[in-house]
């Protein structure tokens, strides 16, 4: 079948099997290998991308379900010469070791700050009618869908906190 995908502002016409996940379309059909495959079952967050600004797991959705959507991958978040604030903060704080989970962490954190800006509560928010401050506990809970096998978590939280403080 055929699907038109808009990725990082560029349109791509994709000829693919109905079974192709969005993750496999990005990596194998379009050569956008920044998005990683860890578990392929929605458990690790390595495949996190943004659809219409919201973070999702690209491994648990079909490419054919996304024509017309605005897809942003790590390649669209920033480039080596023009890092996004989140990418720069990860570099500054050493928010990684092997780096495999990092594109997913950065996409996830970028969208997570937007969720917090919209006042979304989390599981650790005492009063769900409030718009809580992004404490370290809030950051950890909201990032629980991104596992890091190297356990770079403290530095990841440092990086995210820095961006959050600068932008709020």
């Amino acid at each position: 079948m055929q699907t038109k995908l808009t990725i990082n502002g560029n349109e791509h016409d994709l000829e693919h099997d109905t079974r192709t996940t969005l993750l496999d379309a990005l990596r194998n059909h379009l050569g956008l290998s920044g998005t990683k495959k860890g578990c392929d079952h929605g458990q690790c967050g390595a495949c996190t991308i943004l659809i219409n600004g919201r973070r999702i797991n690209a491994c648990l959705t079909l490419a054919c379900m996304h024509d017309g959507d605005e897809i942003t991958t790590i390649e669209g978040i920033g480039t080596p010469d023009n890092l996004s604030p989140m990418q720069a903060a990860f570099v500054q704080h050493d928010g990684f070791q092997c780096g495999y989970c990092t594109p997913g962490q950065i996409c996830s954190a970028t969208a997570m700050l937007e969720e917090a800006r919209m006042g979304w509560p989390s599981h650790v928010t005492d009063d769900v009618t409030s718009a809580p401050d992004l404490t370290d506990t809030e950051i950890s809970e909201r990032m629980s869908g991104n596992l890091c096998r190297c356990s770079a978590y403290p530095n990841i939280v440092d990086a995210i906190r820095q961006v959050s403080e600068k932008t709020t």
């Binding site: 079948m1 099997d17 109905t18 079974r19 996940t21 392929d40 079952h41 929605g42 967050g45 996190t48 919201r54 973070r55 999702i56 797991n57 648990l60 959705t61 079909l62 054919c64 379900m65 996830s108 969208a111 997570m112 969720e115 919209m118 006042g119 979304w120 509560p121 989390s122 599981h123 928010t125 769900v128 009618t129 950890s140 809970e141 909201r142 990032m143 629980s144 869908g145």
Partner: protein, 328 residues
């Protein structure tokens, strides 16, 4: 994954009609695709319902809310009317899965997610739910996640949804549309079936029947608590969960709505416990008696035996928190 045809439905009636001919709905896909990759579910035709006009939350005349089946778990948990009037629901939603998954997971899909029984997920193992008549590997096997209430000799799996537990306590109904376009409404408790001899049949939905909305009655007064006990503090399924709306007036319980997750094949509610609590003064002894009512038929399977005392203690902890002094 097995090959399948794909159709994007334009409206609910079309979706129900195609599903009536044997196709399977796909909404967020977060449970269905997971199971299709493992070939636990092998639909030959998917109907994509994500473009249906079912993504709004509106007020009902009765003072409740009508939630479209495609409203995502994130949007439902973030909705200010829901947070103010039915805080139990966002609490339960936010205790489940992750930010990424909740952005995709839908209200309808969450209700119909399948069990997390390890053997159900493994096509090499016997499982009556996946392959009727093949046996149940969880009996005598690993059954830490499994049911202590409502199970049968054929299947001891639990329903994994947190949202459904809150909705059960809140007295929600589901609106359905059948393949011929006709509609009906069921109390949430009647959506689900206990396993009995046919654990592969999990709901009372007719073939092709689409969940179009979940309807909440007007908010009830009282403290709303969702307590989920699990193997780690975040991002794990419930071992035991308790959803409660409790109010105390003049020293006695005046409102009690309770539902339980992680312990049964469906979100569990026993109105006997609620009736028993009403009109009585909070006390540890009262909690013990309430737990006796809940657990009189409870049966462990070995590795889930701990759930019987855990359910008792979790209920007591929730009732203590719900009736504790300050703003009562």
């Amino acid at each position: 994954m097995r090959p399948f045809d794909y159709t994007r439905a334009q409206d609910s009636a079309e979706a129900a009609r195609i599903a009536g001919q044997g196709a399977t709905f796909i909404a967020g896909g977060t449970n269905l695709l997971d199971l299709m990759k493992l070939e636990v579910m092998t639909p030959d035709h998917l109907v994509d319902i994500t473009h249906l006009d079912l993504n709004e939350i509106t007020q009902t005349e009765a003072g409740g809310l009508r939630i479209g089946a495609l409203v995502t778990n994130s949007d439902l948990a973030a909705d200010m009317a829901v947070r103010r009037g039915w805080p139990l629901l966002p609490k339960a939603l936010l205790s489940g899965a992750t930010g990424q998954l909740r952005n995709k997971a839908t209200t309808g899909g969450n209700l119909l997610q399948r069990t997390r029984c390890y053997y159900f997920y493994d096509p090499d193992m016997p499982c009556n739910k996946r392959e009727p008549g093949s046996g149940c590997a969880a009996m005598g096997g690993m059954n830490r996640l499994h049911a202590i209430l409502g199970a049968s000799d054929a299947c001891i799996a639990t329903h994994p949804s947190d949202m459904a537990v809150a909705l059960r306590a809140l007295g929600a109904h589901v609106d359905l549309m059948a393949e011929d376009g006709s509609t009906r409404t069921l109390p949430l408790g009647d959506l689900y079936r206990l396993p009995g001899d046919t654990p592969e049949v999990e709901t009372n939905l007719k073939p092709g029947e689409l969940i179009t909305h979940v309807v909440l009655p007007a908010p009830v007064h009282g403290r709303q608590i969702y307590r989920k006990v699990r193997d780690r503090a975040s991002y794990a399924f419930a071992l035991v969960s308790v959803a409660a709306v409790i109010d105390v007036e003049s020293g006695v319980i005046s409102q009690a709505k309770l539902a339980f997750g992680g312990i049964a094949p469906m979100p569990w509610r026993m109105t006997e416990i609620e009736d028993f609590l009403i009109g009585k003064a909070p006390s540890e002894d009262l909690w013990e008696e309430a737990a006796d009512l809940l657990l009189s038929d409870a049966r462990g399977q070995g590795s889930n035996d701990f759930k019987i005392p855990l359910a008792r203690r979790t209920l007591a902890a929730v009732l203590n928190e719900a009736t504790r002094g300050d703003d009562q």
